[in-house]
């Protein structure tokens, strides 16, 4: 059932991460959250496969739950 890719797929992660980080340089905490949410919606729509998105949501929720327990 796993459709969500969890193996490395990005060829050049450093510049990509840098671009993401730069996006937040001059933003308040609140603006950063909005920017992230916009990215999220753009990418969700691009992916277009709801099952993949639900899988990611589940994964993140489990991750949060376990980090809270610790």
């Amino acid at each position: 059932m796993a459709k969500l890719h969890l193996e490395p797929r990005i060829q050049n992660p450093d510049p990509l991460y840098k671009a993401l980080a730069y996006l937040h340089t001059d933003l308040s905490a609140e603006e950063s959250l909005v920017v992230n949410a916009k990215l999220l919606f753009l990418l969700i729509n691009h992916i277009g496969d709801e099952a993949v998105v639900y899988e990611a949501i589940d994964l993140v929720r489990k991750d949060m739950d376990s980090s809270r327990v610790e």
Partner: protein, 563 residues
């Protein structure tokens, strides 16, 4: 706290001592309805439509006080059309199809709920609930089949295997009567439900909403639904503006969760709030003020032996999407024909279970949509607010974001994709419609007179046979259709023809001319296509060619027939 209502005069309906009070005897009736709200009144009209006598009791003697439901959907109008009560509603009501969504100062997008032509009724009319109830009461007042009993309150119930005994209090005392079947339409605080000790599970939302009606002569606001997220006049919260009859406008404003209820409803404060919204130069008068925290609940089952629950007694939703009363009308539309077949001994009581199945399915859909809308409209955490801000910002520019925006998913006819009454397709059809769907409408002419398909069907099982012209009907088809029309539970067929003809009827069957080709298109018809409709107009089976045995089997299945 009500302000003076100026635009509507409440008539007090007369209390008259009932037969029971006059004779001291216990009356026996086939059907009693408790509650003359919009849903109970619709049930009474539907029973009369089917020729069934009905006693309707209500503890009050007036129509609904103040501002409650205003938006009535296309399906409700189709039902009211069948019942012959739609005309005054559409004449008085305000028609609308378009909604606009604003975020802060700007318009984000607009939507059209009925983008295609060729329907008898619009997506919505806005009409104050008191007018709607008045128009539903009017045809019942001189109706010999209907016994309306005002200031009659249900106090106690005795449930027997084949009847229910009601104890009713009136200004003169109490009396008893027996009902073979009881329809509980007594609203969210249903006495019937409480007396039977039945659950009404769900939750209450935390957000508070201020509901106000104002009178204003204003040409600047069109007859559309306008919804604001985080507007400058109600920062951080939402607002909704709607036009009703008599130049009355409904304004809903979301308030902070901790808002003081008395203070929020103080007319002076309300006036200030509305002035901030409309601007200083717009004259208006306050007509009504109330404050709500909405509920989301339903009963486990809507059918209990001799008792049916419909409308708010069975389910209650937040008003975003206008699914409250509208779903109640569909409960009634679904129930009455089934009850009639069972009362006549033509259907197995199993048919009544399908009322429960179909309408609890519908209630779940309505609960899902209204809960999701309410959560979108009143986000709780800062994370939820952020998500919403992001999608609203994106929606201004990008179409992909708009479907996520939820200011209410507006009420429509329920679709039953896996209705227990449907016969699955064995032929291929390339249209949206399928068994379990409400009928698609289309303009037709009958003997040269303009009409609509949905106005020509309903109340009984019906077939639609699509032909190029009436004369294409073969001798074999004619024999089959005659046999179907002569059954104990008849199936009357209408011919939907592509070519114009002045004929009203052909071989005793009504001829509908598909003047714009829309019926053929919407039903994906080919010559000889046959649709079988339930008495509530829903499609229950269809084929590319008429086969009498298959039609009979599909009808037997859809009506759980035992004759």
């Amino acid at each position: 706290m009500p302000v003076m209502q100026r635009t509507y005069q409440y008539e007090e309906f007369p209390y008259r001592p009932s037969r029971e009070e006059q004779s001291g005897e216990i009356g026996h009736y086939p059907v009693v309805i408790v509650g003359a709200g919009p849903v109970g009144l619709t049930a009474a009209n539907d029973l009369v439509y089917h020729g069934i006598p009905v006693v309707l009791i209500d503890e009050d003697n007036k129509v609904s006080l103040g501002s409650r439901a205003i938006c009535f959907d296309k399906r409700a109008l189709e039902i009211f059309d069948r019942l012959g009560v739609v005309e005054p509603m559409e004449a008085k009501g305000v028609t609308w199809n378009v909604g606009r969504v604003f975020h802060q100062e700007e318009e984000v997008y607009q939507f059209n709920l009925l983008p295609e032509e060729g329907h008898a009724h619009p997506a919505f009319i806005n009409l104050q609930q008191y007018y709607l109830e008045e128009y539903l009461i009017r045809p019942l007042r001189d109706q010999p089949l209907a016994d309306l009993r005002w200031l009659n309150r249900l106090e106690a119930l005795e449930i027997h295997e084949d009847f229910v005994r009601l104890t009713v209090s009136t200004p003169q005392g109490t009396y008893q009567m027996d009902a073979e079947w009881l329809i509980a339409a007594d609203g969210a605080h249903s006495t019937v439900r409480k007396l039977m000790g039945l659950d009404y599970k769900g939750r209450q939302f935390e957000s508070k909403f201020l509901i106000t009606d104002v009178v204003m002569q204003n040409e600047d606001f069109p007859t559309e639904r306008w919804f604001w997220f985080d507007p400058p006049f109600n920062p951080g919260y939402s607002a909704l503006l709607h036009k009703q009859a008599d130049n009355v406008w409904r304004i809903d404003m979301q308030l902070p969760r901790d808002a003081d209820e008395a203070e929020a409803q103080d007319p002076e404060r309300v006036e200030q709030r509305i002035r901030r919204m409309l601007g200083d130069d717009v004259p208006f008068e306050l007509e009504w003020i109330s404050l709500y925290r909405f509920h989301s609940r339903r009963m486990d089952r809507f059918w209990h032996g001799r008792v049916f629950f419909v409308g708010d007694a069975a389910h209650i939703v937040s008003p975003f999407g206008a699914r409250g009363a509208n779903s109640g009308f569909q409960d009634v539309d679904n129930l009455i024909w089934k009850l009639k077949l069972v009362m006549q001994g033509q259907a197995s009581p199993e048919l009544l279970e399908t009322f429960n199945q179909e309408r609890t399915y519908a209630a779940d859909e309505n609960l899902f949509h209204t809960e999701t809308s309410t959560e979108f409209i009143s986000p709780k955490t800062s994370g939820q607010k952020t998500l919403r801000k992001a999608i609203l910002d994106l929606a201004r520019e990008y179409a992909f974001a708009r479907p996520f925006i939820n200011s209410g998913r507006l009420s429509k006819a329920t679709i039953y994709p896996s209705s227990p009454l449907s016969t699955p397709d064995e032929d291929t059809f390339a249209c949206q419609l399928a068994p379990g769907w409400p009928p698609a409408d289309a303009p037709v002419t009958v003997g040269g007179q303009s009409s609509f398909l949905t106005q020509q069907v309903g109340g009984q099982f019906q077939g639609l046979l699509f032909l190029q012209k009436p004369e294409d009907l073969s001798a074999e088809q004619l024999a089959d259709l005659k046999a179907l029309a002569q059954k104990d539970v008849p199936i009357h067929t209408l011919l939907v023809v592509a070519q114009p003809t002045p004929l009203r009827e052909y071989e005793g069957m009504p001829v509908l001319v598909d003047v714009q080709g829309l019926a053929w298109k919407r039903y994906d018809a080919t010559p000889g296509t046959y649709y079988l409709l339930r008495p509530d107009q829903y499609i229950c089976a269809r084929w590319r060619t008429l086969d009498r045995n298959k039609v009979e089997a599909a009808q037997r299945h859809a009506g759980r027939l035992i004759v």
